[in-house]
Amino acid sequence: MLENILEFLQGNAIFSICISAVVVIFITASIFTMFNHAQEEKRVEQLRWNKVSAHMALYDLSRRLVIPLEADEILVGRHGAADIRFPDMSVSRYHAVLYVSNGIWSVMDLDSKSGTFVNGRKIRSQVKLKDSDEIRFGDKAVVIRERRRRKHV
Protein backbone atom coordinates (compact mmCIF):
# COMPACT_ATOMS: atom_id res chain seq x y z
CA MET A 1 0.00 0.00 0.00
CA LEU A 2 2.70 2.49 1.10
CA GLU A 3 4.87 1.56 -1.84
CA ASN A 4 1.96 2.13 -4.23
CA ILE A 5 1.38 5.59 -2.77
CA LEU A 6 5.09 6.41 -3.04
CA GLU A 7 5.17 5.17 -6.63
CA PHE A 8 2.19 7.37 -7.49
CA LEU A 9 3.76 10.40 -5.85
CA GLN A 10 7.14 9.85 -7.54
CA GLY A 11 5.45 10.00 -10.92
CA ASN A 12 3.93 13.39 -10.17
CA ALA A 13 6.21 16.18 -11.43
CA ILE A 14 4.59 18.95 -9.37
CA PHE A 15 4.96 16.91 -6.20
CA SER A 16 8.68 16.39 -6.96
CA ILE A 17 9.16 20.12 -7.44
CA CYS A 18 7.36 20.81 -4.14
CA ILE A 19 9.62 18.35 -2.31
CA SER A 20 12.73 19.99 -3.79
CA ALA A 21 11.40 23.41 -2.87
CA VAL A 22 10.93 22.29 0.75
CA VAL A 23 14.56 21.06 0.82
CA VAL A 24 15.70 24.42 -0.55
CA ILE A 25 13.64 26.31 2.05
CA PHE A 26 15.07 24.28 4.94
CA ILE A 27 18.67 24.66 3.82
CA THR A 28 18.13 28.42 3.41
CA ALA A 29 16.49 28.62 6.85
CA SER A 30 19.41 26.79 8.45
CA ILE A 31 21.92 29.20 6.86
CA PHE A 32 19.96 32.20 8.19
CA THR A 33 19.63 30.65 11.66
CA MET A 34 23.38 30.05 11.83
CA PHE A 35 24.15 33.63 10.83
CA ASN A 36 21.68 34.89 13.39
CA HIS A 37 23.48 32.86 16.04
CA ALA A 38 26.83 34.16 14.85
CA GLN A 39 25.57 37.69 15.56
CA GLU A 40 24.64 36.68 19.11
CA GLU A 41 28.05 35.07 19.55
CA LYS A 42 29.66 38.29 18.44
CA ARG A 43 27.99 40.10 21.35
CA VAL A 44 29.19 37.47 23.84
CA GLU A 45 32.69 37.52 22.33
CA GLN A 46 32.79 41.30 22.82
CA LEU A 47 32.02 40.88 26.54
CA ARG A 48 34.79 38.29 26.78
CA TRP A 49 37.21 40.60 24.99
CA ASN A 50 36.41 43.36 27.47
CA LYS A 51 37.67 41.02 30.18
CA VAL A 52 40.81 40.08 28.23
CA SER A 53 41.63 43.74 27.58
CA ALA A 54 40.90 44.64 31.23
CA HIS A 55 38.13 47.04 30.07
CA MET A 56 40.81 49.48 28.89
CA ALA A 57 40.36 52.14 26.22
CA LEU A 58 42.29 55.13 24.93
CA TYR A 59 40.89 58.58 25.66
CA ASP A 60 41.74 61.35 23.24
CA LEU A 61 41.10 64.31 25.52
CA SER A 62 41.65 66.97 22.84
CA ARG A 63 38.90 65.53 20.64
CA ARG A 64 36.83 64.07 23.50
CA LEU A 65 36.97 60.67 21.87
CA VAL A 66 37.02 57.20 23.36
CA ILE A 67 39.08 54.83 21.19
CA PRO A 68 38.26 51.17 21.89
CA LEU A 69 41.13 48.67 21.95
CA GLU A 70 39.78 45.76 19.91
CA ALA A 71 42.78 43.51 19.21
CA ASP A 72 45.83 42.13 20.99
CA GLU A 73 48.15 44.04 18.66
CA ILE A 74 47.14 47.54 17.63
CA LEU A 75 49.12 49.66 15.22
CA VAL A 76 49.08 53.40 15.89
CA GLY A 77 50.11 55.73 13.11
CA ARG A 78 49.21 58.23 10.42
CA HIS A 79 48.95 55.63 7.64
CA GLY A 80 45.53 54.61 6.35
CA ALA A 81 46.26 50.98 7.25
CA ALA A 82 46.87 51.79 10.94
CA ASP A 83 44.33 50.44 13.42
CA ILE A 84 44.30 53.74 15.31
CA ARG A 85 44.92 56.60 12.94
CA PHE A 86 46.00 60.08 13.99
CA PRO A 87 46.05 62.51 11.04
CA ASP A 88 48.78 64.59 12.65
CA MET A 89 52.09 65.37 10.93
CA SER A 90 54.03 64.78 14.16
CA VAL A 91 52.83 61.17 14.17
CA SER A 92 54.80 58.80 11.93
CA ARG A 93 52.99 56.63 9.41
CA TYR A 94 53.80 53.54 11.50
CA HIS A 95 54.43 55.04 14.90
CA ALA A 96 53.92 52.46 17.68
CA VAL A 97 52.22 49.20 18.53
CA LEU A 98 50.04 48.51 21.58
CA TYR A 99 50.04 44.96 22.91
CA VAL A 100 47.92 43.19 25.51
CA SER A 101 48.90 40.06 27.39
CA ASN A 102 47.20 38.65 30.48
CA GLY A 103 45.17 41.83 30.82
CA ILE A 104 48.22 44.12 30.83
CA TRP A 105 48.70 46.62 28.02
CA SER A 106 52.13 47.67 26.79
CA VAL A 107 53.42 50.00 24.11
CA MET A 108 56.40 49.71 21.77
CA ASP A 109 57.81 52.46 19.56
CA LEU A 110 58.52 51.56 15.91
CA ASP A 111 61.55 53.83 15.49
CA SER A 112 59.27 56.79 14.92
CA LYS A 113 60.71 60.20 14.05
CA SER A 114 59.24 62.14 16.96
CA GLY A 115 59.21 59.27 19.48
CA THR A 116 56.69 57.82 21.90
CA PHE A 117 56.44 59.04 25.50
CA VAL A 118 54.79 57.45 28.53
CA ASN A 119 54.07 59.95 31.32
CA GLY A 120 56.59 62.31 29.71
CA ARG A 121 59.43 59.76 29.44
CA LYS A 122 60.64 58.67 26.02
CA ILE A 123 60.42 54.91 25.64
CA ARG A 124 63.17 52.81 24.06
CA SER A 125 61.74 49.32 24.54
CA GLN A 126 58.35 47.76 25.21
CA VAL A 127 56.85 49.47 28.28
CA LYS A 128 53.95 48.23 30.42
CA LEU A 129 51.06 50.61 30.91
CA LYS A 130 48.94 51.30 33.97
CA ASP A 131 45.51 52.83 34.39
CA SER A 132 45.51 56.61 33.66
CA ASP A 133 48.98 56.60 32.05
CA GLU A 134 49.48 59.32 29.47
CA ILE A 135 50.92 58.15 26.15
CA ARG A 136 52.18 60.70 23.66
CA PHE A 137 52.73 59.80 20.01
CA GLY A 138 54.65 62.80 18.65
CA ASP A 139 52.46 65.75 19.70
CA LYS A 140 49.36 63.62 20.05
CA ALA A 141 48.56 62.75 23.66
CA VAL A 142 46.08 60.08 24.80
CA VAL A 143 45.30 58.50 28.14
CA ILE A 144 44.78 54.78 28.70
CA ARG A 145 42.00 54.34 31.18
CA GLU A 146 39.51 51.76 32.34
CA ARG A 147 36.14 52.19 30.68
CA ARG A 148 33.06 52.88 32.74
CA ARG A 149 31.28 49.59 33.22
CA ARG A 150 27.54 49.38 32.96
CA LYS A 151 25.83 48.53 36.17
CA HIS A 152 23.83 45.34 35.85
CA VAL A 153 20.56 45.48 37.73
Binding site: Q10, V23, F26, S30, I31, M34, V44, E45, Y94
Partner: protein, 432 residues
Amino acid sequence: MYKNGLSYARCTAVVLLTHIVMLAAILLRGNYETLRDIVPLGVVVLGLDLVYTVILRFFYKQMTYTMDFFLLLLLGISVIFQSCFGGIGFALKHQITCIIALVMCQVGFLLTRNHVWIQSKKKILYIILGVLILSILFLTGSRSMWITIGSISIQPSEFMKPVFVLICATSIREQHEKKKILFFYVSREMLVMTGAFIIIAGLQWWCRDLGSLPIFAAAYICALVCRLCYPKAKFSKKTIIGISAIGAVVVIAALKFAPGYVQDRLSVDIWNQMEGNGYQQCKALIALAEGGLFGKGPGCGSLYQVFASDTDIVFSTICEEWGFLVGLLTILILMGMLLLPMINKPRSYFHTTMILGVVAVMIVQMGLNIFGSCNLIPFTGVTIPFISQGGSSMITCGFLAGMLKAGQSPVFRKTEPKLKKTRTENRKAAVV
Protein backbone atom coordinates in the same frame (compact mmCIF):
# COMPACT_ATOMS: atom_id res chain seq x y z
CA MET B 1 27.29 24.06 30.16
CA TYR B 2 28.32 26.19 27.21
CA LYS B 3 31.04 28.61 28.13
CA ASN B 4 29.34 31.53 26.39
CA GLY B 5 25.94 30.98 27.98
CA LEU B 6 23.96 30.98 24.71
CA SER B 7 21.40 28.30 23.92
CA TYR B 8 21.98 26.28 20.77
CA ALA B 9 18.69 24.37 20.68
CA ARG B 10 17.61 26.31 17.59
CA CYS B 11 20.80 25.44 15.67
CA THR B 12 20.53 21.77 16.66
CA ALA B 13 16.86 21.64 15.61
CA VAL B 14 17.57 23.34 12.28
CA VAL B 15 20.43 20.94 11.43
CA LEU B 16 18.33 17.91 12.38
CA LEU B 17 15.28 19.15 10.49
CA THR B 18 17.27 19.89 7.33
CA HIS B 19 18.72 16.39 7.34
CA ILE B 20 15.29 14.86 8.06
CA VAL B 21 13.74 16.81 5.17
CA MET B 22 16.52 15.64 2.83
CA LEU B 23 15.98 12.04 3.92
CA ALA B 24 12.25 12.50 3.35
CA ALA B 25 13.04 13.81 -0.14
CA ILE B 26 14.97 10.60 -0.79
CA LEU B 27 12.00 8.60 0.45
CA LEU B 28 9.56 10.46 -1.78
CA ARG B 29 11.70 11.06 -4.87
CA GLY B 30 14.66 8.68 -4.61
CA ASN B 31 15.68 5.68 -6.66
CA TYR B 32 15.67 2.77 -4.17
CA GLU B 33 14.38 -0.79 -4.18
CA THR B 34 13.08 -1.21 -0.64
CA LEU B 35 12.61 1.15 2.28
CA ARG B 36 15.40 -0.70 4.09
CA ASP B 37 17.92 0.94 1.70
CA ILE B 38 17.32 4.32 3.35
CA VAL B 39 17.34 3.20 7.00
CA PRO B 40 21.14 2.90 7.56
CA LEU B 41 21.73 6.31 5.97
CA GLY B 42 19.05 7.96 8.09
CA VAL B 43 20.18 6.34 11.33
CA VAL B 44 23.84 7.23 10.82
CA VAL B 45 23.32 10.83 9.67
CA LEU B 46 20.82 11.72 12.42
CA GLY B 47 22.83 9.70 14.96
CA LEU B 48 25.99 11.68 14.18
CA ASP B 49 24.04 14.95 14.52
CA LEU B 50 22.78 13.98 17.96
CA VAL B 51 26.05 12.49 19.23
CA TYR B 52 28.15 15.46 18.10
CA THR B 53 25.68 17.93 19.60
CA VAL B 54 25.74 16.05 22.92
CA ILE B 55 29.57 16.05 22.87
CA LEU B 56 29.57 19.80 22.23
CA ARG B 57 26.93 20.38 24.89
CA PHE B 58 28.46 18.43 27.75
CA PHE B 59 32.12 17.68 27.05
CA TYR B 60 33.46 20.63 25.13
CA LYS B 61 33.72 24.25 26.16
CA GLN B 62 34.57 27.02 23.76
CA MET B 63 33.35 30.53 22.99
CA THR B 64 31.72 30.06 19.57
CA TYR B 65 29.86 27.06 18.18
CA THR B 66 28.36 28.31 14.91
CA MET B 67 31.28 26.90 12.93
CA ASP B 68 30.63 23.45 14.45
CA PHE B 69 26.98 23.53 13.46
CA PHE B 70 27.84 24.72 9.94
CA LEU B 71 30.29 21.83 9.66
CA LEU B 72 27.81 19.31 11.02
CA LEU B 73 25.14 20.51 8.58
CA LEU B 74 27.54 20.36 5.64
CA LEU B 75 28.96 16.93 6.47
CA GLY B 76 25.48 15.43 6.91
CA ILE B 77 24.40 16.85 3.55
CA SER B 78 27.63 15.57 1.99
CA VAL B 79 27.02 12.02 3.27
CA ILE B 80 23.44 12.13 1.95
CA PHE B 81 24.67 13.30 -1.49
CA GLN B 82 27.41 10.69 -1.70
CA SER B 83 25.03 7.89 -0.65
CA CYS B 84 22.65 8.72 -3.53
CA PHE B 85 25.05 8.58 -6.48
CA GLY B 86 23.95 5.69 -8.72
CA GLY B 87 21.09 4.56 -6.50
CA ILE B 88 20.33 4.94 -2.81
CA GLY B 89 22.77 3.18 -0.51
CA PHE B 90 25.11 4.19 2.26
CA ALA B 91 28.56 5.71 1.63
CA LEU B 92 30.27 4.13 4.63
CA LYS B 93 33.79 5.20 3.62
CA HIS B 94 32.67 8.80 3.20
CA GLN B 95 30.88 8.70 6.57
CA ILE B 96 34.08 7.49 8.27
CA THR B 97 36.12 10.25 6.64
CA CYS B 98 33.50 12.78 7.77
CA ILE B 99 33.87 11.62 11.39
CA ILE B 100 37.66 11.86 11.03
CA ALA B 101 37.19 15.39 9.65
CA LEU B 102 35.17 16.36 12.74
CA VAL B 103 37.94 15.01 14.98
CA MET B 104 40.60 16.82 12.92
CA CYS B 105 38.57 20.02 13.26
CA GLN B 106 38.93 19.81 17.05
CA VAL B 107 42.65 18.97 16.70
CA GLY B 108 43.20 21.99 14.45
CA PHE B 109 41.28 24.19 16.84
CA LEU B 110 43.23 23.08 19.92
CA LEU B 111 46.60 23.47 18.19
CA THR B 112 46.05 26.93 16.76
CA ARG B 113 43.84 28.80 19.23
CA ASN B 114 46.78 30.11 21.25
CA HIS B 115 48.83 32.14 18.79
CA VAL B 116 51.68 32.73 21.21
CA TRP B 117 52.13 28.98 21.69
CA ILE B 118 51.92 28.03 18.02
CA GLN B 119 54.32 30.81 17.05
CA SER B 120 56.85 29.46 19.52
CA LYS B 121 56.62 26.03 17.85
CA LYS B 122 57.15 27.14 14.29
CA LYS B 123 60.38 25.18 13.89
CA ILE B 124 58.28 22.03 14.21
CA LEU B 125 56.14 23.26 11.31
CA TYR B 126 59.21 23.53 9.09
CA ILE B 127 60.22 20.01 10.11
CA ILE B 128 56.74 18.65 9.26
CA LEU B 129 56.85 20.41 5.88
CA GLY B 130 60.29 18.94 5.23
CA VAL B 131 59.09 15.44 6.11
CA LEU B 132 56.09 15.81 3.79
CA ILE B 133 58.28 17.02 0.93
CA LEU B 134 60.73 14.16 1.43
CA SER B 135 57.86 11.65 1.61
CA ILE B 136 56.57 12.93 -1.75
CA LEU B 137 60.05 12.75 -3.27
CA PHE B 138 60.95 9.28 -2.03
CA LEU B 139 57.77 7.39 -1.09
CA THR B 140 55.38 8.26 -3.91
CA GLY B 141 55.64 6.56 -7.25
CA SER B 142 57.40 8.14 -10.16
CA ARG B 143 55.97 11.62 -10.67
CA SER B 144 52.90 10.92 -8.62
CA MET B 145 51.41 12.53 -5.49
CA TRP B 146 50.05 9.35 -3.93
CA ILE B 147 51.49 6.94 -1.37
CA THR B 148 49.77 3.56 -1.55
CA ILE B 149 49.75 1.38 1.57
CA GLY B 150 47.66 -1.74 0.93
CA SER B 151 44.18 -0.61 -0.02
CA ILE B 152 44.67 2.93 1.32
CA SER B 153 46.07 5.76 -0.79
CA ILE B 154 47.35 8.90 0.89
CA GLN B 155 48.08 12.21 -0.79
CA PRO B 156 50.80 13.96 1.28
CA SER B 157 50.50 17.15 -0.78
CA GLU B 158 47.04 17.70 0.76
CA PHE B 159 48.59 17.74 4.25
CA MET B 160 51.01 20.43 3.09
CA LYS B 161 48.14 22.92 2.80
CA PRO B 162 47.45 23.54 6.54
CA VAL B 163 51.18 23.34 7.32
CA PHE B 164 51.97 25.95 4.67
CA VAL B 165 49.13 28.22 5.88
CA LEU B 166 50.49 27.96 9.43
CA ILE B 167 54.03 28.72 8.24
CA CYS B 168 52.69 31.81 6.49
CA ALA B 169 50.78 32.88 9.62
CA THR B 170 53.67 32.31 12.03
CA SER B 171 55.99 34.39 9.87
CA ILE B 172 54.47 37.49 11.50
CA ARG B 173 56.78 37.15 14.50
CA GLU B 174 59.99 38.69 13.22
CA GLN B 175 58.38 41.29 11.02
CA HIS B 176 60.11 44.14 12.83
CA GLU B 177 63.56 42.85 11.84
CA LYS B 178 63.62 43.89 8.21
CA LYS B 179 66.64 44.30 5.98
CA LYS B 180 66.95 45.94 2.60
CA ILE B 181 67.84 43.37 -0.07
CA LEU B 182 68.20 44.88 -3.56
CA PHE B 183 65.13 47.16 -3.65
CA PHE B 184 62.86 45.55 -1.05
CA TYR B 185 62.66 45.62 2.73
CA VAL B 186 62.24 41.98 3.70
CA SER B 187 62.45 39.93 6.85
CA ARG B 188 64.11 36.54 7.25
CA GLU B 189 60.68 34.99 7.80
CA MET B 190 59.38 36.36 4.54
CA LEU B 191 62.34 34.86 2.69
CA VAL B 192 61.78 31.48 4.35
CA MET B 193 58.08 31.62 3.47
CA THR B 194 58.92 32.44 -0.15
CA GLY B 195 61.51 29.64 -0.22
CA ALA B 196 58.92 27.16 1.09
CA PHE B 197 56.46 28.25 -1.59
CA ILE B 198 59.07 27.89 -4.37
CA ILE B 199 59.97 24.38 -3.17
CA ILE B 200 56.29 23.37 -3.02
CA ALA B 201 55.64 24.82 -6.48
CA GLY B 202 58.66 22.97 -7.88
CA LEU B 203 57.46 19.75 -6.31
CA GLN B 204 53.97 20.19 -7.79
CA TRP B 205 55.55 20.80 -11.18
CA TRP B 206 57.71 17.70 -10.88
CA CYS B 207 54.72 15.55 -9.83
CA ARG B 208 52.50 16.89 -12.61
CA ASP B 209 49.93 18.05 -10.04
CA LEU B 210 49.52 21.59 -11.29
CA GLY B 211 45.88 21.76 -10.18
CA SER B 212 46.94 22.35 -6.58
CA LEU B 213 49.48 25.02 -7.50
CA PRO B 214 46.92 27.91 -7.58
CA ILE B 215 45.75 26.88 -4.09
CA PHE B 216 49.23 27.27 -2.59
CA ALA B 217 49.77 30.43 -4.64
CA ALA B 218 46.57 31.94 -3.20
CA ALA B 219 47.63 31.17 0.38
CA TYR B 220 51.09 32.62 -0.31
CA ILE B 221 49.75 35.81 -1.91
CA CYS B 222 47.36 36.39 1.02
CA ALA B 223 50.20 35.96 3.51
CA LEU B 224 52.47 38.22 1.45
CA VAL B 225 49.86 40.98 1.34
CA CYS B 226 49.33 40.64 5.11
CA ARG B 227 53.09 40.88 5.61
CA LEU B 228 53.37 43.97 3.41
CA CYS B 229 50.53 45.67 5.28
CA TYR B 230 52.08 44.90 8.64
CA PRO B 231 53.56 47.71 10.75
CA LYS B 232 56.72 49.23 9.31
CA ALA B 233 56.10 47.66 5.91
CA LYS B 234 56.80 49.84 2.94
CA PHE B 235 53.63 49.25 0.98
CA SER B 236 54.75 51.59 -1.78
CA LYS B 237 54.05 51.80 -5.49
CA LYS B 238 57.55 50.41 -6.09
CA THR B 239 56.71 47.28 -4.11
CA ILE B 240 53.37 46.77 -5.86
CA ILE B 241 54.91 47.25 -9.33
CA GLY B 242 57.85 44.99 -8.47
CA ILE B 243 55.70 42.15 -7.18
CA SER B 244 53.19 42.47 -10.05
CA ALA B 245 56.05 42.34 -12.59
CA ILE B 246 57.59 39.25 -10.95
CA GLY B 247 54.15 37.59 -10.83
CA ALA B 248 53.45 38.36 -14.49
CA VAL B 249 56.85 36.99 -15.58
CA VAL B 250 56.31 33.81 -13.55
CA VAL B 251 52.79 33.25 -15.00
CA ILE B 252 53.93 33.86 -18.61
CA ALA B 253 56.93 31.55 -18.17
CA ALA B 254 54.74 28.88 -16.54
CA LEU B 255 52.25 28.98 -19.41
CA LYS B 256 55.01 28.88 -22.02
CA PHE B 257 56.87 25.97 -20.48
CA ALA B 258 53.82 24.08 -19.15
CA PRO B 259 53.63 20.36 -19.96
CA GLY B 260 51.81 19.35 -23.15
CA TYR B 261 48.70 18.05 -21.40
CA VAL B 262 48.24 21.38 -19.58
CA GLN B 263 48.49 23.35 -22.83
CA ASP B 264 45.99 20.92 -24.39
CA ARG B 265 43.55 21.62 -21.58
CA LEU B 266 44.03 25.36 -21.91
CA SER B 267 43.04 25.32 -25.56
CA VAL B 268 40.62 22.37 -25.69
CA ASP B 269 37.24 22.79 -27.41
CA ILE B 270 35.20 20.33 -25.36
CA TRP B 271 32.29 20.00 -27.79
CA ASN B 272 34.63 19.04 -30.65
CA GLN B 273 36.48 16.56 -28.43
CA MET B 274 33.53 14.98 -26.65
CA GLU B 275 35.19 11.58 -26.62
CA GLY B 276 38.66 12.91 -25.87
CA ASN B 277 39.94 15.66 -23.57
CA GLY B 278 36.51 17.22 -23.15
CA TYR B 279 34.64 14.04 -22.18
CA GLN B 280 34.17 14.74 -18.46
CA GLN B 281 33.29 18.41 -18.92
CA CYS B 282 30.77 17.64 -21.68
CA LYS B 283 29.05 15.04 -19.56
CA ALA B 284 29.14 17.36 -16.52
CA LEU B 285 27.57 20.24 -18.45
CA ILE B 286 24.88 18.00 -19.97
CA ALA B 287 24.05 16.60 -16.53
CA LEU B 288 23.89 20.12 -15.08
CA ALA B 289 21.41 21.14 -17.76
CA GLU B 290 19.36 17.95 -17.42
CA GLY B 291 19.04 18.41 -13.66
CA GLY B 292 17.45 21.85 -14.03
CA LEU B 293 16.48 23.81 -10.95
CA PHE B 294 15.01 20.93 -8.97
CA GLY B 295 16.93 17.86 -10.23
CA LYS B 296 15.98 14.43 -11.50
CA GLY B 297 15.66 12.98 -8.00
CA PRO B 298 18.18 11.41 -5.59
CA GLY B 299 19.83 8.38 -7.20
CA CYS B 300 18.15 9.01 -10.57
CA GLY B 301 21.12 10.62 -12.31
CA SER B 302 23.43 9.11 -14.91
CA LEU B 303 26.63 11.08 -14.33
CA TYR B 304 27.79 8.59 -11.68
CA GLN B 305 29.01 6.38 -14.55
CA VAL B 306 31.63 8.99 -15.52
CA PHE B 307 35.08 8.74 -13.90
CA ALA B 308 35.56 11.07 -10.88
CA SER B 309 31.82 11.84 -10.64
CA ASP B 310 32.08 11.89 -6.82
CA THR B 311 35.25 13.96 -6.66
CA ASP B 312 36.26 16.23 -9.54
CA ILE B 313 32.81 16.82 -11.10
CA VAL B 314 30.80 16.30 -7.93
CA PHE B 315 29.03 19.65 -8.30
CA SER B 316 27.43 18.55 -11.57
CA THR B 317 26.48 15.16 -10.09
CA ILE B 318 24.72 16.92 -7.17
CA CYS B 319 22.98 19.38 -9.49
CA GLU B 320 21.78 16.57 -11.74
CA GLU B 321 20.18 14.62 -8.89
CA TRP B 322 19.13 17.36 -6.46
CA GLY B 323 18.85 20.37 -8.74
CA PHE B 324 20.89 23.51 -9.27
CA LEU B 325 19.29 25.32 -6.31
CA VAL B 326 20.34 22.67 -3.80
CA GLY B 327 23.85 22.56 -5.34
CA LEU B 328 24.11 26.33 -5.06
CA LEU B 329 22.86 26.36 -1.46
CA THR B 330 25.42 23.70 -0.50
CA ILE B 331 28.13 26.00 -1.81
CA LEU B 332 26.49 28.83 0.15
CA ILE B 333 26.77 26.78 3.36
CA LEU B 334 30.48 26.39 2.69
CA MET B 335 30.77 30.09 1.89
CA GLY B 336 28.86 30.86 5.09
CA MET B 337 31.46 28.92 7.06
CA LEU B 338 34.22 30.92 5.42
CA LEU B 339 32.41 34.23 5.94
CA LEU B 340 31.87 33.75 9.69
CA PRO B 341 35.19 35.47 10.55
CA MET B 342 33.75 38.62 8.95
CA ILE B 343 31.01 38.70 11.62
CA ASN B 344 33.20 37.76 14.55
CA LYS B 345 36.52 39.30 13.57
CA PRO B 346 39.82 37.77 14.70
CA ARG B 347 41.69 39.83 17.25
CA SER B 348 45.31 39.11 16.37
CA TYR B 349 47.49 39.48 13.27
CA PHE B 350 48.35 35.78 13.47
CA HIS B 351 44.72 34.67 13.37
CA THR B 352 43.90 37.21 10.66
CA THR B 353 46.67 35.88 8.42
CA MET B 354 45.77 32.28 9.21
CA ILE B 355 42.08 32.78 8.46
CA LEU B 356 42.87 34.62 5.22
CA GLY B 357 45.07 31.71 4.17
CA VAL B 358 42.39 29.12 5.00
CA VAL B 359 39.68 31.10 3.19
CA ALA B 360 41.94 31.56 0.15
CA VAL B 361 42.76 27.83 0.04
CA MET B 362 39.13 26.75 0.30
CA ILE B 363 37.69 29.33 -2.10
CA VAL B 364 40.31 28.68 -4.78
CA GLN B 365 39.84 24.91 -4.38
CA MET B 366 36.07 25.28 -4.67
CA GLY B 367 36.35 27.66 -7.62
CA LEU B 368 38.75 25.40 -9.51
CA ASN B 369 36.37 22.47 -9.12
CA ILE B 370 33.09 24.22 -9.95
CA PHE B 371 34.35 26.48 -12.74
CA GLY B 372 36.44 23.62 -14.12
CA SER B 373 33.46 21.29 -14.38
CA CYS B 374 31.41 24.10 -15.95
CA ASN B 375 34.16 24.68 -18.56
CA LEU B 376 34.76 28.27 -17.44
CA ILE B 377 38.43 27.48 -16.71
CA PRO B 378 40.63 24.50 -17.67
CA PHE B 379 39.73 21.28 -15.88
CA THR B 380 42.08 20.79 -12.92
CA GLY B 381 40.75 17.85 -10.92
CA VAL B 382 40.79 19.29 -7.41
CA THR B 383 38.06 18.53 -4.87
CA ILE B 384 35.31 20.65 -3.28
CA PRO B 385 36.05 20.86 0.46
CA PHE B 386 33.84 18.50 2.53
CA ILE B 387 31.62 17.55 -0.45
CA SER B 388 33.94 15.48 -2.64
CA GLN B 389 35.00 12.03 -1.61
CA GLY B 390 38.60 11.56 -0.48
CA GLY B 391 40.26 10.82 2.85
CA SER B 392 43.31 13.07 2.58
CA SER B 393 41.23 15.99 1.36
CA MET B 394 38.63 15.49 4.11
CA ILE B 395 41.25 15.30 6.89
CA THR B 396 42.93 18.46 5.58
CA CYS B 397 39.66 20.33 5.26
CA GLY B 398 38.66 19.29 8.79
CA PHE B 399 41.94 20.66 10.12
CA LEU B 400 41.48 23.89 8.13
CA ALA B 401 37.96 24.27 9.57
CA GLY B 402 39.49 23.88 13.04
CA MET B 403 41.90 26.70 12.21
CA LEU B 404 38.94 28.88 11.21
CA LYS B 405 37.26 28.04 14.50
CA ALA B 406 40.43 28.94 16.39
CA GLY B 407 40.17 32.46 14.98
CA GLN B 408 36.64 32.65 16.42
CA SER B 409 37.52 31.30 19.89
CA PRO B 410 41.15 32.34 20.42
CA VAL B 411 43.05 32.13 23.68
CA PHE B 412 44.96 35.22 24.76
CA ARG B 413 46.93 33.67 27.56
CA LYS B 414 50.64 34.03 27.77
CA THR B 415 52.55 31.88 30.23
CA GLU B 416 54.75 34.18 32.25
CA PRO B 417 58.30 32.87 32.72
CA LYS B 418 58.85 31.46 36.20
CA LEU B 419 61.29 33.65 38.07
CA LYS B 420 63.97 31.98 40.13
CA LYS B 421 63.59 32.81 43.79
CA THR B 422 66.50 34.54 45.44
CA ARG B 423 68.08 33.21 48.64
CA THR B 424 66.41 35.88 50.79
CA GLU B 425 63.00 35.04 49.33
CA ASN B 426 63.63 31.36 50.04
CA ARG B 427 64.56 32.17 53.64
CA LYS B 428 61.42 34.30 54.06
CA ALA B 429 59.29 31.47 52.68
CA ALA B 430 60.95 29.01 55.07
CA VAL B 431 60.25 31.31 58.04
CA VAL B 432 56.57 31.66 57.05
